[in-house]
């Protein structure tokens, strides 16, 4: 599924790379606030749901070829995080919902 459809369906905020949403293919999601967990277990094309707000998130997302990052609980990405996201071309998205609710809604789309 295209990222743009997920953003529309779930009403997500788009903090960066809005021009790339219709190019990016999404295969599912992974929810975790532990970077080594994501490094070890997330799969290419997944959306990463987290509350971690720093640029190492983008380093991991890029190394793992993830589709996008969703920041939960109304968190706004810090400046270096956002900058890195533009460099990597991986969108940072946002929601007011907490991780459980966000994960549930994304899960429903794929199952």
């Amino acid at each position: 599924m295209k990222l743009i459809d997920i953003v529309d369906k779930l009403g997500l905020k788009v903090f960066s790379n809005s021009d790339k949403l219709n190019e990016i293919e999404v295969t599912g999601g992974y929810t975790s606030d532990l970077l080594s967990d994501v490094m070890g277990n997330a799969q290419e094309g997944q959306i990463w749901i987290t509350l971690q707000n720093h640029k190492n998130v983008m380093a991991v997302a890029s190394l793992k070829d993830l589709a996008a990052v969703i920041l939960v609980k109304s968190i706004k990405p810090e400046e270096n995080f956002l900058k890195q996201s533009v460099e990597e071309g991986i969108p940072v998205l946002g929601t007011d919902r907490q991780a459980f609710e966000m994960s549930g809604e994304l899960y429903k789309i794929f199952n």
Partner: protein, 137 residues
């Protein structure tokens, strides 16, 4: 082909640079993307461990047609019990490092799982050397 990188302990802003650079090289060499993924996971964890746990370090990557060999050598506190450090969930990471989402004690297990050969040697109060070999085919 040989590449070297330096790592500063405590500087999380640059963590992942070497991994990202090696990933690009392997892509250009048309290495299978699954193999690239494994190498990158292991290298990133090694890089972050120097940033999180040591004072400074050096990465050397040597790539030929058959394999990639990476050596990460650091000056730091060393690892007193390598067997214990390799245990999933074991971590001595500081509170600050944990708040960033590091310190799950999954890095060394990730490295073990994603390399063909992993060798960790360490001397307390001197430093740690991690050697990883992964075959490209």
């Amino acid at each position: 082909m040989k590449f070297t990188y330096t790592i500063e302990g405590g500087d999380f802003s640059k963590a992942g640079h070497a991994s990202s650079s090696v990933k690009k090289v392997l892509k250009q060499l048309n290495v299978n993307s699954k193999v690239i993924k494994r190498i990158v996971v292991a290298l990133y964890e090694g890089e972050v461990n120097v940033v999180a746990h040591a004072y400074r370090g050096k990465i050397e990557a040597d790539i030929n047609a058959e394999r990639i060999y990476v050596r990460i050598e650091d000056e730091g506190p060393g690892i007193p019990d390598i067997g214990l450090a390799m245990t999933a969930g074991y971590s001595t990471a500081s509170e600050k490092v944990r708040e960033m989402g590091f310190g799950a004690g999954m890095g060394l297990p990730n490295m073990k799982k994603n390399t063909d050969e992993l060798k960790v040697t360490s001397e307390v109060d001197k430093g740690t050397t991690v050697e990883m070999t992964t075959y490209l085919k």
